[in-house]
């Protein structure tokens, strides 16, 4: 074990996963080595196979291998459960499941974990019953490896995460394996998280419900990377992404926080002609876009581009000429899907392009303004987005540590109290993003600027925005909630939190 740069004890060796370096600082651990290359193969013959089972057989999947999936359908994903059920029926076992993220719909794989079909998992997030089971029981051969979106693709490119068979849900495909996500009845938009799987897996199985005559255009993932194509009735439920346009919150507390955050942005000096930003799809984060939009309209300041997961609201800003471009790894609603299909200024980007710290440039490193969430934030501004106040895994690392590392202004918005628990704590249960890359916390009770950024504090003061210390916010919350009790935890590590550069930033211990 070693103590890392955020003061967490992390293992230096984990049985089944190998050696690890402790987190040493945001850009303290430079890349080394060469990019991984999969075996050169010529699939030849017919790529279109009659069934999923035929494709699994053709892929050569065996005990002990690694299978991968993307999460573009979010909770409407149908492929992970289907493939794992099929593999279990074929008697293959001891597999590593390497999904870009897992959702509550994936509780169906719990029996396959118990029976030894799946014995290791790497993912960005875990939710619902699956997350709860993996938080309370030691069922896998090794802890779940939690990786950020940038960290996952980095691990694939470096060869740390070797994928034997990638299963790619493709809303649109031709018989030679040209794929896109924007056409067909189950269109999910960007396929950005699947690009690395297609490029680096030993074998790539595309699963579609809409086979079109060659070539399927536009081509997101090309035939040169795809081994087999299988047609099923339905690859995913786009309703799981979200129908129509994402609605802006009407929750007055979220709006209040968003409005405060917008004032911070405006005072930061980064709200200027040609700025770039990323907001999430939920609550106060998306609401920040609303207030930004109002201020852009009022001041005439125009942005250049928006990135990340994209909603109809951001598409509206593009259509209204407030921004010039959208770089999209994931569509959060069907309006975003349509825009990606119809508007050439709305561009699909890969996870590597978006957030891989070990590329020559990733977009998250050149972003101006990043709005972030938090389940907890501590006095060092370390952020938890992975575990809840009960210690159970319920979230995702996602692009949080990636965008926080590179963006110029990193704001966390959160209500000071959530479900009777204060959001500001002495030490977050799980560090996902180090406090070194958080500039300020915006709550309904005030803005706390990280002392590492005195310039921001001075700018806010000049703009007449009062700030408080994070300790004051904590005290204010605890006056209402009391001090939360320590959680009862076992010794066993159930998950490792890998920082985007491949070092370990924290662990998650079993909840008793």
């Amino acid at each position: 074990m070693a103590i890392n740069a955020v003061g967490r004890e992390v293992p230096t060796y984990v049985e089944g996963l190998g050696e690890f370096r402790p987190y040493a600082g945001v850009f303290a651990t430079p890349p080394k080595g060469r990019r991984f290359g999969p075996t050169i193969r010529r699939t030849g013959g017919k790529k279109l196979l009659p069934s999923l089972r035929a494709a699994i057989e053709a892929s050569g999947l065996k005990d002990g291998m690694t299978i991968s999936f993307h999460h573009h359908f979010r909770n409407g994903d149908l492929l992970v459960n289907r493939v794992v059920n099929e593999i279990a029926a074929m008697g293959i076992k001891d597999l590593t499941l390497a999904a870009s993220s897992l959702q509550s719909i994936h509780k169906e794989i719990i029996p396959h974990i118990r029976s030894g079909v799946i014995t290791a998992i790497t993912t960005s997030g875990l939710r619902g019953e699956l997350a709860e089971v993996l938080s309370r029981e030691v069922l896998l051969k090794a802890p779940v490896m939690i990786r950020s979106h940038g960290g996952r693709v980095r691990a694939i490119e470096s060869g740390e995460l070797k994928i034997d068979v990638a299963f790619i849900a493709a809303p649109n495909a031709d018989e030679y394996g040209n794929l896109n996500g924007i056409n067909g009845p189950t269109a999910c938009g960007s396929l950005g998280y699947a690009f690395a799987d297609a490029q680096y897996a030993e074998c790539v199985v595309a699963v579609t419900d809409t086979l079109v005559p060659y070539p399927a255009i536009p081509i997101s993932i090309p035939q040169t990377q795809v081994d087999y194509v299988v047609v099923v009735d339905k690859v995913g439920d786009p309703q799981g992404i979200m129908s129509g346009v994402t609605r802006l919150t009407r929750d007055p507390m979220e709006l209040l926080i968003a409005e405060k955050a917008c004032r911070v942005i405006e005072a930061s000096g980064l709200f200027r002609e040609g700025f770039s930003f990323q907001v999430g799809a939920g609550g106060s984060s998306l609401a920040v876009a609303r207030f930004l939009r109002e201020r852009m309209a009022a001041t005439g300041v125009r942005g250049r581009f928006a990135t990340g997961g994209i909603t109809g609201y951001i598409v509206g800003m593009l259509k209204d000429g407030l921004i010039d471009a959208i770089l999209d790894t994931q569509c959060f609603d069907l309006v975003a899907v349509e825009s990606l299909r119809d508007d050439p200024r709305h561009v699909e980007m890969s996870a590597s392009f978006y957030a891989n710290p070990h590329t020559k440039t990733c977009t998250s490193d050149i972003l101006d303004i990043m709005m972030l969430g938090a389940t907890e934030i501590d006095l060092d501004f370390n952020v938890n987005v992975m575990t809840g106040s009960d210690g159970i895994m319920m979230g995702a690392s996602g692009g949080h540590p990636d965008t926080a590392a590179g963006a110029k202004l990193r704001l966390v918005t959160a209500p000071l109290i959530r479900g009777r628990f204060p959001i500001v704590v002495d030490r977050v249960h799980t560090v996902v993003t180090p406090g070194e890359c958080i500039d300020a916390l915006v709550t309904q009770y005030g803005v706390a600027v990280n002392p590492r950024n005195p310039e921001l504090k001075a700018r806010l003061k000049d703009a007449g925005i009062d700030t408080v210390s994070i300790e004051e916010l904590q005290e204010r919350a605890e006056r209402l909630t009391g001090k939360p009790e320590e959680l009862a935890l076992g010794d066993e590590i159930v998950a490792l939190i890998e920082y985007r550069d491949g070092t370990l930033i924290d662990t998650v211990r079993r909840v008793i």
């Binding site: 007055p252 209040l256 004032r263």
Partner: protein, 300 residues
């Protein structure tokens, strides 16, 4: 304070702890913790206990604390007064006031409880809610019924029922009642507060309603949603030129006082009593929205 700013008086259900805790962050001038309509009969006792606890433990910041207690002719009113006064809210709002005697009775009861608990007489203020045709016609006498009374508020939902009408979007049916309440309150030197606008999704309808109320002479508006608070504050925000003129008037008065001169003119126009009081009112509103030096900078 008798004539403090009461632009926005925001209702919060007295049985909802998280909403009570959150209320001050929206910066209404007054928070009305509701024990009447928002609380069902079987929760009256629990809500009362919760509100007492909230008054004793929470920090309401600069917000005035008002409790809407149940009407005099309900079985809860007396218990409400006995339990709440010791917790020292700024004010009690008596629902369904119809006669001056209702206020006289409440005044006496509050006074008794103040005495029992060594609270200075008159600490807890009163506000009468006029919600019936009879209440409207008695408004003038109600407004003068007690020194403790600082405001008359209008409750349009029960009122329209009492005149056997329905509430419309433009509020035509409320015109006479509103006018009478404004005059009764202003004649007695207390504040008239306009009724709630229940459709929380109709921001534009609400804004028009607030503009009408302001034009008619109301000092403020009852709100049922935090979003309405910001709209009220926008409507009551004085214009930049009004503020500059008010500042010039007050500066001229100070200058005249310094010189011992009795006659004051600003920009060639005589400044008399009504102009001074209007200037004071404008500056009070301006200070609340940070338009003057040393004012609030929250944007509210």
């Amino acid at each position: 304070m008798r004539n403090r700013l009461r632009r926005s008086m925001m209702f919060v259900p007295g049985n909802n702890p998280s909403m009570i805790i959150s209320a001050p962050v929206f910066r209404p001038d007054s928070i009305i913790l509701d024990l009447e309509d928002a609380v069902s009969v079987n929760q009256k006792d629990a809500a009362r206990d919760l509100v007492v606890e909230a008054l004793r433990t929470l920090d309401f910041g600069s917000c005035e604390t008002v409790i809407r207690i149940n009407g005099r002719h309900t079985p809860y009113c007396e218990d409400d007064i006995r339990a709440l006064v010791p917790a020292r809210p700024n004010m009690l709002r008596l629902a369904m006031t119809e006669e001056p005697e209702d206020i006289v009775w409440a005044d006496r009861m509050i006074g008794e409880v103040e005495l029992e608990h060594d609270i200075p007489h008159g600490t807890v203020k009163l506000m009468a809610a006029i919600e019936t045709a009879r209440g409207v016609l008695n408004a003038e006498r109600i407004a003068r019924a007690s020194e403790r009374l600082v405001a008359l508020s209008f409750g349009a939902e029960d009122f329209t029922n009492s005149i056997q009408s329905e509430r419309s979007r433009d509020g035509f049916e409320l015109f006479t009642a509103r006018a009478l309440i404004v005059m009764a309150a202003r004649a007695a030197g207390i504040q008239p507060i306009d009724t709630v606008y229940s459709n929380v999704d109709d921001d534009e309808g609400f804004r028009a309603d607030v503009q009408r109320a302001k034009q008619m002479g109301f000092a403020g508006k009852s709100c049922v949603h935090p979003r309405q608070v910001a709209i009220v504050h926008e409507v009551f925000r004085p214009s930049e030129s009004e503020v500059r003129r008010a500042e010039a008037i007050m500066a001229a008065i100070q200058e005249a006082e310094r010189r011992g001169s009795g006659v004051i003119a600003v920009n060639g126009r005589m400044v008399d009593g009504p102009i001074v009081s209007k200037a004071e009112r404008v500056l009070q509103l301006a200070q609340a929205v940070g338009m003057t030096k040393g004012g609030d900078t929250s944007g509210n």
